[in-house]
């Protein structure tokens, strides 16, 4: 449904945010993982047609979205990472505004907005001005506007930032449901969010696609490459230089270090292979990309 080919974005200051990025997406949830500055937001802004690439194409259902942005916008729900709201408006007023921009009108608009208010659990605050909303409540308004108009392509950039754990679970479930019959691109730093709902995970680094695979594949690849060892506090810097540490805990018997090693058994005495998590697998992918 969504074909991204050779996408390159060079900003006027010379920064290359995307370099020959190619990816093909069908229905379902794609988790987009990558360190800060990897190019995730640039990628999503281009797919959402709010930013033009330097080179490359984006095709949605076979139509060139760069030549005909409306082709994608008609079916798009977009939640940017940093989005503003109009503080003087209420949640209902803002959602009606976005509903009209999406082409909803009359009773359909009214009903759709009410449904979105309920969906994101904002009923008691629906008629309060957004200026008084907490960060999490604003985020829910952002989610609601993205879902208005029944988008077939949903792009959400860090959607769970500011949400409390209950709301995070709730939104994850909703995204998972929406993945049926739709294309959902979810960018986040929270690996557990991706693990819970993404059918495929794309790891992006320095503007390039490092790997795109199902979570199970990433985990399988990490088997035998994740280790745990107990080292003294004095040796810790040496260990940190030698391997990529995914977790460390100070205990009475020393520092418990969990780390990934790209190839072979690491040269750390007493290291034991352990079951990898998706976080380990993500870290390993990055280590391999750097290597």
């Amino acid at each position: 449904m969504l074909e991204i080919t050779g996408l390159t974005k060079r900003y006027p200051n010379g920064t290359v945010a995307l370099a020959d990025f190619t990816l093909s997406l069908g229905e379902g949830v794609l988790g987009l993982l990558g360190p800060n500055g990897a190019g995730k937001t640039t990628l999503m802004s281009i797919v959402a047609t709010v930013l033009r690439p330097t080179a490359g194409t984006v095709r949605w259902r076979g139509v060139d979205a760069l030549a005909d942005p409306l082709a994608i916008r008609r079916e798009l729900g977009y939640l940017p990472q940093d989005f503003g709201v109009y503080d003087k408006l209420t949640a209902v007023e803002l959602l009606r505004y976005f509903g009209r921009l999406k082409g909803l009108a009359g009773k359909e608009l009214k009903v759709a907005v009410e449904e979105m208010i309920d969906l994101v659990n904002l009923r008691p605050a629906a008629n309060r001005r957004l200026g008084g909303f907490s960060g999490g409540m604003r985020q829910r308004v952002g989610i609601a506007q993205a879902l208005l108009g029944d988008p077939k392509l949903l792009i959400v950039d860090e959607p769970t930032v500011g949400l409390d754990p209950e709301e995070r679970v709730r939104f994850r479930n909703l995204l998972s449901e929406l993945g049926h019959g739709r294309t959902v691109i979810l960018s986040t730093h929270i690996v557990s969010d991706v693990e819970a709902i993404a059918e495929r995970i794309a790891v992006i680094r320095q503007g390039r696609l490092v790997r795109c695979a199902a979570p199970e594949e990433l985990l399988a690849h990490a088997v035998g490459r994740v280790w745990r060892a107990v080292v003294s506090a004095e040796r810790l810097p040496e260990v940190q230089r030698a391997v990529a540490v995914s977790n460390l805990t100070r205990r009475a018997d020393g520092v418990h270090v969990r780390f990934v090693a790209a190839a072979g058994e690491p040269a750390i005495a007493g290291a034991m292979a352990v079951e990898p998590t998706l976080e380990d697998a993500y870290l390993l992918t990055n280590v391999e990309a750097v290597a």
Partner: protein, 554 residues
């Protein structure tokens, strides 16, 4: 090798300096941040160029048939010969009269921006007190305006070297500026801060109001309390309140002529014959003058202290529950209750598909509704004035028309830059109903809104005559296009609001040559209205070109 991170003991950090040191550090940080962000703003370059241009316009060649400052003595209008003292005084007066009007718009909005972008809570969590935060803002604004004002001395020097007569007396050239500019800029910076922290004045309404406040504070009050311009010399009194130096300049002229000075004209004064020029008495600085200027500077404390007081009061309101709107229910929780069923892993509510038909018309309607919703209370008197213009008989209708035109500006002033100001660009521009040109989308929405809100005014003008109707139509078109074009180009509403308000003030004068709606004279000047409409269209074309260039740049 140790992995321990070196942590400074509290006693070794700069944060442990005394309270006075903390205040200075906080203020220095504020000043540094403000100065850097202002110097990197394109508006600084535009202002510097405008100041240079204004200096050359306001000091024309001595034999030119125009002048910027003239005074009436014995029924005749005069200006001064181009001595170092006269050029210095003219440049100083114009700087301290004009820069406060424009400079206010350059420095206002800084606190509002910090509040809206949630920067203030971060600053408040540091050792910076509200007082040092605001003092830092004031010093930064004052210094910025003073630097801009100082740039006017360069053309002053050039103009003396080109047109001047008599010796190049540097003291005479610089001293008027030194006496006038600091007080004017300090007072302006404090007023901008006061507007910025005062609810109701910190936005579009305040930007419009400033024009009138400026006229009142910088001209009418000093002229009134000094009694200099009432044609009765016995009323003349010494005053310590003279922020723009109007009284100071009047006294300089009075020392140059034998008869009483009845009026002082400022602006671009066009004459049929070369200006009559009189020798201008050199400036003599004495203790009394220095004391009066110092006292004028001290008046800055009044708006500054008011700003600090209001800010401290307003900052405490953040703890209160936000105001409810559109609902009479009381006692609802501030945060909605959790859906524990969903939180425990159960299914979320089913998502029902919506059927949408995006179109340009619906996008324009959405923006038009948003204009109405975000217009605050100003929309009600604006509509009342428009409606009243239909019913007030005769020439009295000009008054509600003028009120409507004035209140229209803050309602539409920031519409074109709404996304930039609120950070909603990415969300809004990804919507399907928007046309490729967002400038045209904004223009369509603003023009539709103006046409709808201004329909009573338009109808009344049509009833007066077809020419009046056409003039009003052109004037309203100019207003909508200027708001869309300038708003888009500047990313805010300040330039449009400042220029429009000044134009409005000139236009509503009886038989004004700048009556852009043709409503305030015996006959409409259609060529003037058409010229304004063309200027508005030019602003839109320029904005569309900039938009296109930006899009091409990616």
């Amino acid at each position: 090798m140790s992995a321990a991170v070196s942590v400074n003991a509290p006693g070794n950090t700069r944060a442990s300096t005394g309270v006075r040191g903390q205040v200075w550090h906080a203020m220095a940080a504020q000043i540094g941040a403000e100065t850097r962000s202002r110097l990197r703003s394109p508006s600084t370059i535009v202002t510097v160029l405008a100041l240079f241009a204004a200096a050359f316009v306001y000091v024309p060649a001595p034999d030119a048939k125009r002048a910027s400052i003239m005074w009436e003595v014995g029924g005749h209008m005069y200006s001064g010969t181009y001595t170092a003292g006269f050029i210095g005084a003219v440049v100083a007066l114009l700087t301290s009269m004009l820069l406060p009007l424009v400079g206010f718009y350059l420095v206002a909005g800084s606190v509002r921006r910090d509040l809206e972008r949630r920067v203030w809570p971060i600053i408040a969590a540091t050792r910076t007190s509200a007082t040092s935060y605001l003092l830092g803002k004031w010093v930064a604004s004052f210094a910025y305006l003073l630097v801009l004002a100082a740039l006017a001395l360069l053309p002053a020097t050039y103009l003396f070297l080109r047109y001047g007569t008599g010796p190049f007396a540097l003291g005479q050239l610089l001293m008027p500026w030194l006496l006038l500019a600091p007080a004017a800029m300090a007072f302006t910076a404090a007023c901008a801060l006061l507007f910025d922290v005062t609810p109701g004045l910190s936005g579009r309404g305040g930007y419009v109001l400033w024009f009138f406040v400026f006229s009142f504070l910088f001209m009418m009050i000093p002229a009134g309390i000094s009694g200099r311009f009432d044609k009765d010399p016995t009323n003349d009194r010494s005053t310590t309140y003279d922020p723009a130096g109007l009284v100071f300049f009047h006294d300089l002229i009075a020392r140059s002529v034998a008869q009483p000075v009845h009026s002082l004209s400022l602006g671009v004064i066009i004459l049929d014959e070369p200006v009559r020029r009189l020798p201008f008495a050199p400036l003599r600085v004495d203790g009394g003058l220095l004391a009066r200027r110092a006292a004028t500077f001290a008046w800055t404390a009044l708006p500054l202290l008011a700003a600090i007081g209001i800010f401290k009061l307003a900052a405490g309101r953040g703890a209160r529950a936000p105001r409810r709107r559109g609902s009479r229910r009381r006692g609802a929780p501030a945060t909605p209750p959790m859906d524990w069923r969903a939180a425990s892993g159960g299914p979320a509510e089913a998502f029902r598909p919506h059927s949408a038909t995006p179109s340009f018309a619906r996008a324009v309607l959405a923006e038009g509704v948003l204009l109405w919703q975000s217009a605050s209370w100003i929309k009600w008197p604006m509509l009342a004035a428009a409606g009243a213009s239909l019913f007030v008989p005769g020439s009295g209708a000009a008054a509600p028309m003028a009120i409507f035109l004035l209140l229209l500006a803050p309602v539409i002033g920031e519409a074109a830059a709404r996304e930039q100001l609120a950070g909603t660009g990415a969300t809004v521009y990804a919507q399907p109903g928007l046309p490729p040109s967002r400038v045209m989308w904004k223009l369509a929405a603003i023009a539709g809104f103006v046409a709808l809100a201004g329909s009573p005014v338009l109808l009344r003008s049509l009833l007066r005559g077809a020419g009046f109707g056409l003039a009003m139509l052109l004037g309203l078109a100019f207003t909508a296009m200027a708001a869309a074009g300038l708003g888009w180009l500047t990313g805010g509403g300040k330039l449009f609001l400042g220029l429009y308000t000044a134009l409005w003030y000139v236009a509503i004068q009886r038989d004004s040559p700048l009556d852009f709606v043709g409503a305030f004279g015996a006959q409409p000047r259609l060529s003037v209205c058409a010229a304004f409409a063309a200027a508005g269209a030019a602003a839109v074309v320029l904005a569309a070109a900039v938009e296109k260039a930006r899009a091409a740049r990616g």
